[in-house]
Structure formats: C-alpha cells, structure tokens
C-alpha cells in the first residue's frame, strides 16, 4: 500500500483561489486568494478548502459535549472552564436542580467537574453551556486526562471505533469531551492503560494503521506500563 503523507500547511501558505473553491475553517481570504491561518492538515475537497488544526485551544461549537471544571459559583449562575479562550456561563435555568438565588454553592462548587453541552456561542464569543440533558451530570470519581482538542476525533475513532476498543480491553468507563478532556473510570490498571494508549494516539494521530497498532498494544500483557 502506498503511503501518502497528509499535507501539513502553515500560516500564510497559499491554498487556492475563491474563484474555484470556498474558504473553509482555518483559512482566510485576501485579494481573492485563500491562505492557511494556522499550522494544520490540509483538507481540500470538492467545494471547500479547510485546514484542520493540529494545536490550539478548544473552539466551542453549539451542541458539542464538553467536560467543564467549575471556576466560580455566582449568584444565579456558575463560571465554568471548558478549555476555550473564554470561560462558559452555566445559568441556574440550565441545570436539572431547583436552585434558589445565591444558593449555587450548594450544588456546584469551585473544582467540581461536569459533563455539559455547549448551548450557545454568540458573536462576541460569550459562551453558554447546559446540564439539561439526561446524559449530563456532575461527575464523581475517576480521572480526567487533558489532550489536544484537535486530537479528539482520532481518539474517538471513526464511528467511535477507537473508543470502543479502549473500553473493551480496559473495562473502563470513558467519556470524551470535544474540548480535549477525557474522563476515565475503572481500575487503576485500566485507567493507566487508557492513558498510555491515548498518549500514543496523540503522538501519532495522523498515521495510517493506527487502529491496528492500538489494538495490538491493548492485547499485549499490560502489567503496569509506566
């Protein structure tokens, strides 16, 4: 099988012309020409030219599932860190509990972790998240791993295949937030296996044959991998 390298492009690199294609994510237009604005992987399909970022903070998109860490309980809302350029606001109307004015601390406090969903990103980048969904809740136990948000799709795998492998071989519960935070719960050994594999995926996200490599690693006798 021939190996094609996925093309890495860098800021200011000329990618195309707006007469032929539309400027997608990670690009900017100047004088009718499309350029990359970041270091990333070129994705040039029939209509759009996109650049998939390799690095950078999470860029919130409405409906994304994210893992947030509560920064500060305010009077009728909480400020939550979701690894974006800005903190997100969680309003008392967006939680499944009955919270009286000024009673926010009773429910969520500084340092608590939550599974949330991005509700709204407005034009000034003010972010709102919600806990109102049966899959969302305050997290108890387990461990949170931080990864590059850009690597999340790879860690999930096509149709969740990579995550399914991880869950199967480590008997862990795993939840991947789009914002680069992964929650893992299980035995200490299982958690460590997941961390090792995730780190490997992070370092080789763009390689081909990664799913097989991961499966091999998981199948091996994994008595305490440092």
């Amino acid at each position: 099988m021939t190996k094609e390298n996925r093309e890495i492009v860098i800021p200011s690199q000329l990618l195309g012309d707006i007469k032929q294609k539309k400027a997608g994510k990670g690009t900017f237009v100047e004088n009718g020409k499309i350029y990359s604005e970041i270091i990333g992987v070129l994705s040039d399909n029939s209509k759009y030219i996109n650049v998939i970022p390799l690095k950078g903070r999470y860029d919130p998109i409405e409906k994304d599932f994210v893992i947030g860490i509560v920064e500060e309980p305010l009077q009728s809302s909480w400020l939550v860190d979701i690894n974006a350029a800005y903190p997100a606001l969680l309003h008392v109307n967006e939680v499944p509990w009955d919270v009286d004015y000024g009673e926010t601390k009773k429910f969520l406090n500084h340092g608590d972790s939550i599974m949330a969903k991005v509700l709204q990103v407005n034009r000034e980048k003010k972010l709102q998240i919600t806990l109102k969904d049966r899959n969302l809740y305050k997290i108890k136990g387990g461990f949170i791993l931080n990864v590059e948000p850009s690597k999340v799709p790879r860690i999930i795998g096509r149709k969740g295949s990579m995550i399914a492998l991880l869950k199967k071989y480590t008997s862990s519960r795993i939840f991947v937030g789009q914002n680069g935070r992964i929650w893992i719960d299980g035995t200490e050994e299982g958690i460590r296996k997941v961390i090792n594999v995730v780190r490997m995926i992070e370092n080789e996200a763009l390689s081909y044959g990664l799913t097989n490599k991961v499966e091999e690693l998981l199948k091996k006798d994994t008595k305490v991998v440092h």
Partner: protein, 241 residues
C-alpha cells in the same frame, strides 16, 4: 564608541563572515511541556526561549478590548545572559523592546477572532550576543504558530548596520558595540510589509536604503528556516513506521 578595535581584518569581519552573511542560526519548535506553544532559537551566540499562552480572557478586566485580543509580548533578559550580570526584572530597555515586538505581532495575528482575550508571548534571553530582539521576534513567530494562534503571516526579523563605513548584515557583538549604525527590522514575508523598524547611529540616505535592502534579504532567508522548522516538527506526525 570609536576604539582602536578593528572590525575588519583582511577584508573579513571578526568572525570571518562576509558583509552580507548571517551568523549561524538553529531553530526548534515545541520545546516546553507546560506552554501552549514554544520555540527555541540559537542565533550566533544568542540563546532564546519563547513560550506562548492563550488566547485567554484578559485579566484585569479593564485591559480587555471588546473588539480584539491584546498581544502581550514580554522580552526579558536572564541575569546571567550578559557579560556584566543584569539585575533581574524589566528595565526600560526591555519594556520598550516588549512594546515594539507586541505591535509587530499584533499586525499579523488575527486578533479580531478573540475579543476581550489576551495572548501572552514570553521571550527569555538566556545567552545574549547582539540582535536579541530580532532573534526573539523570529522565535516568537514560531511559538505562536506552535500554539495554534491564527496568523495571516509568519513574521520574521533581522538587523543590518554599518561598521567602519561599510553596510553589513546581522551585527555581531563587537560590531554592535563599536559600529556606526544599527537597524533592526521585522517584516511580513508574504507581503513584504515592514512591521518593526528601529534605527540608531548615522546613515546617509543611500546607506539606509542599502542596509534596509540587506536586512530584508536576510529576513527572507530566515523565513525559509522558520517554515522548515515548523513543517519538520509536524511532518513527523504524518510519517508512518
């Protein structure tokens, strides 16, 4: 300062370079664990480390700009980086350099994408040998790209000057101390626009044009090295065993 030090010996500069030759430059991207983006550069005897954090909400709130991100470049020299130990902390020279570098970077970073945010660029001079601000800015550009900060170009900087009546590229230590003029610049290589320009000394109009042209040529050479360093760092990820 005119001394009896000769800056040209047998037609060559003290370190053996020709008038339009750059010192040896080495660049590395992504060298720190904690920083979101980082780079390291060795340029002649200069050793400079840069770390980028952000974009993140600017604090204190009164520094926030509702329309765009603010870029805080901080140039700092380590106490041991110079011949006579420097007292730690920013002096007036460091603060001025920080400002002109911030302004150059703000031109190319797509700051409108991050209203109310701040992007911190920390430039540490660990070993100094003339031309620290241009080396610092050149490295900062790499660290910004490494952090995933969107930019419309990768800025690059270089200096030219005049020694013993001759215009030369990339002043070295003695040349900076005993020369007649120093002209550090930074450009946006895609468009050729000048983002940073300072000058001190004495240059006729012709000498200035020559020096500027030389510095710009130097910038383009260094720009190739930056691009190579960036691509090399990330190309590794795509290579399969």
């Amino acid at each position: 300062m005119k001394q009896d030090i000769k800056l040209f010996v047998d037609g060559k500069r003290l370190d053996g370079r020709t008038p339009d030759e750059l010192r040896k430059i080495k660049m590395e991207v992504g060298v720190l664990h904690r920083a979101e983006g980082s780079s390291y550069i060795e340029w002649g005897g200069n050793k400079i480390l840069v770390a980028v954090y952000g974009p993140k909400e600017a604090i204190p709130r009164h520094t926030q700009n509702p329309l765009r991100a603010i870029v805080n470049a901080k140039y700092n020299m380590a106490a041991f980086s110079v011949d006579d130990r420097k007292r730690p902390g920013p002096d007036r020279r460091s603060r001025e350099i920080s400002k002109v570098i911030s302004e150059a970077l703000e031109n190319v970073i797509l700051v409108e994408k991050y209203p109310r945010a701040a992007i911190d660029v920390n430039i540490e001079i660990l070993d100094a040998e003339a031309g620290t601000r241009v080396a610092g800015l050149t490295a900062a550009a790499l660290a910004l790209a490494d952090a995933g900060i969107p930019m419309k170009d990768i800025p690059v900087a270089c200096a030219a000057g005049k020694i013993e009546g001759q215009v030369v590229l990339d002043l070295g230590k003695e040349e900076d101390n005993y020369g007649d003029a120093d002209l550090p610049i930074a450009i946006s290589p895609r468009t050729g626009e000048i983002l940073l320009l300072q000058m001190d000394g004495h240059l006729t109009r012709e000498e200035f044009d020559k020096a500027l042209g030389m510095a710009i040529d130097g910038c383009y050479k260094i720009s190739e090295m930056q691009k190579k360093a960036l691509v090399e760092k990330y190309q590794k990820l795509t290579e399969v065993e």
